[in-house]
């Protein structure tokens, strides 16, 4: 095997390395490849590998492009003059490696979460990641063309790593984090949230500025070549900073009510489109509401995915999109209990435990599998040493049978009035 070509242009093997690193990084950041079941969450999390791949791309591009003297030789051999053409001609395996790593990452997440379609606006994150990769590539090419390779490669690698890591670990560098975009893959934790539009567009502004600056650097005459590209970059940085100014960490917001898809009347069921696409979810809401009414409890008037809905009779149904039937029933019970609970009122540990006991009893009465909802992490009322059987769960919840859960819940609503009236 001839080694020299691999040393002159490391892009082919570095592209493979980029792919492998991206998949490995995904596996340690998203165990089981699970994310909230939206396309935006899947596409954003799929880019977590760019956090470690970007410095590699930057360094490998610096190595592949090489000093500017080498460019002149290539220009003599090939009738091309555009710096963009020259950069991409030698570094395209890096882009291919990044695209492959990202594609595999998204496929792994899709296999684990199977998000339903939520609208084309959720694809914008693809453009954001493309801009981030181009920025890393062009920055590396710039460093590589202006420094000896032995210096340029470590500078690009360490500088690239610092550009990712410093804003990520330093909360006071929120604007730099937002403009560079590397916080986006770890920003979505709930199907109820979406990434701020400005946070998606800021890296695009910077990436476009880098592309334009590189093009202008080759197309302009020597008099303005040094000034105009720099000016374009400054405009790109300022535009990006403006777009993310004031954004929270992580840069997300609640999804607007306009995205909800509603149907039915009693109760009215309003779900995110990803949840509404699964007809069994809406049907379960109708079934559970019917069971409540049949037991003598008030039937909800609205069942909604949206947090913050506080109208009387509203059940806030907090689903992730990957829940099983028991989890959905448990979340429904939590949302129903919210109609009665006064969670902001301080309570004793005993009152909190009674509140937990009531909601688990209600979930069991509604059809949740006791063995699945009772775990050490569910509530202080459950102790792993006592959770060996369904009967032991019934004993903790003071239930004779599943239907007894309705009575336990009604008893709690009466006792709870004293907490709310405090």
């Amino acid at each position: 095997m001839r080694v020299r070509p691999l040393l002159t242009n490391p892009a082919p093997w570095a592209g493979v390395l980029v792919t492998l690193v991206m998949i490995y990084d995904l596996s340690i950041n998203f165990p089981g490849y699970r994310t909230p079941a939206t396309w935006q969450a899947a596409l954003a999390a799929g880019g977590v590998g760019f956090q470690v791949a970007a410095p590699l791309i930057c360094a490998a591009a610096a190595w592949s492009v090489g000093p500017i003297e080498r460019w002149r030789i290539r220009n003599l051999l090939m009738p091309v003059r555009s710096p963009l053409t020259l950069v991409f001609a030698s570094t395209w395996p890096l882009l291919a490696g990044a695209a492959l790593g990202y594609g595999i990452s998204v496929a792994l997440i899709y296999g684990a979460t199977k998000p339903n379609w939520g609208g084309p606006e959720q694809l914008l994150v693809l453009l954001t990641f493309a801009a981030m990769v181009f920025l890393a590539l062009l920055t590396g090419a710039f460093v590589g063309s202006h420094l000896p390779t032995a210096i340029a490669v470590p500078v690009a690698l360490i500088g690239g790593y610092a550009a990712v890591a410093v804003p990520l670990v330093n909360d006071s560098a929120g604007i730099a984090r937002g403009v560079l975009g590397f916080g986006l893959p770890v920003s979505l934790y709930s199907i109820n949230d979406q990434i701020l539009l400005g946070a998606l567009l800021a890296p695009v502004a910077l990436g476009l500025a880098a592309l334009l600056a590189t093009y202008l650097g080759g197309a302009l005459t020597t008099k303005v070549r040094a000034v105009l590209p720099a000016l374009v970059l400054v405009v790109g940085i300022l535009a990006g900073g403006f777009l993310v100014a004031g954004a929270s960490v992580p840069p997300t917001e609640s999804r607007p009510a306009a995205q909800l898809e509603c149907h039915g009347a009693s109760p009215r069921i309003c779900l995110w489109p990803e949840l509404g696409a699964d007809k069994s979810i809406g049907a379960l809401a109708t079934t559970l509401s019917g069971r409540l009414a049949a037991s003598g409890l008030a039937k909800p008037t609205l069942v909604t995915s949206r947090p913050g809905a506080t109208a009387p009779g509203t059940v806030r149904w907090d689903l992730s999109g990957t829940d099983d039937q028991t989890s959905r029933t448990m979340q429904f019970a939590w949302g129903y209990q919210d109609m009665f609970a006064c969670r902001q009122k301080p309570q004793t540990q005993r009152q909190l435990n009674d509140e937990d006991r009531a909601v688990f009893a209600l979930a069991v009465a509604l059809g949740a599998d006791p063995a699945k909802i009772a775990s050490a992490g569910s509530s202080p009322i459950f102790d792993t040493s006592t959770l060996s059987t369904v009967s032991s769960v019934y004993r903790i919840l003071n239930l004779k049978d599943a239907r007894d859960g309705f009575h336990e819940f009604v008893a709690w609503t009466k006792a709870n009035r004293s907490i709310c009236s405090n």
């Binding site: 340690i28 670990v169 770890v186 902001q344 992490g377």
Partner: protein, 147 residues
């Protein structure tokens, strides 16, 4: 450039790539019962690893809460905590803040699987927020984590 220098640069690249990873941890569901003594703002809890294998919310319950500075002690009306998730190899990134009265749960819903900590951001007393730079530390007779 000499071939030797190129080999060194290549070695640097590979070593950097390999050292960016971290070892994985064992994940489970569970609870931890503890207390808090003189935490300044920004102080973080111990870690816990959530496999997201159940429908449990991630919750923290603080009871017996006071904030103190020098010889002054107040009982706050609410406490703000921030949940953070490990993002190897860069460390913990914010999930979201929650504010709750002592004796009620700070509830983050289901933030998925991973390794988590919570951070103390500040407390509210008599309408004022005692956060970073206030000099007030947090105490709680019980600080229980459920995940």
């Amino acid at each position: 450039m000499s071939r030797k220098v190129l080999k060194v640069a290549m070695g640097l690249t590979v070593v950097a790539a390999l050292t960016l990873g971290v070892t994985t941890v064992a994940f489970a569901e569970g609870q931890r019962l503890s207390y808090i003594s003189a935490w300044p703002t920004g102080h973080r809890s111990g870690t816990w690893a959530d496999s997201d294998g159940d429908s449990a919310h991630t919750r923290v319950l603080l009871t017996g809460v006071t904030i103190s500075a020098d010889n002054i002690t107040y009982t706050p009306s609410s406490v703000q905590l921030q949940l953070l998730k490990n993002n190897p190899p860069f460390g913990y990134q914010a999930v979201s803040n929650k504010t709750a009265a002592p004796g009620s749960y700070q509830d983050w819903g289901n933030p998925g699987s991973g390794t988590f900590v919570f951070q103390y951001n500040g407390s509210t007393y008599a309408g004022g927020f005692y956060g970073s730079g206030s000099g007030f530390d947090l105490n709680a007779t019980h600080a229980n984590i459920y995940w």
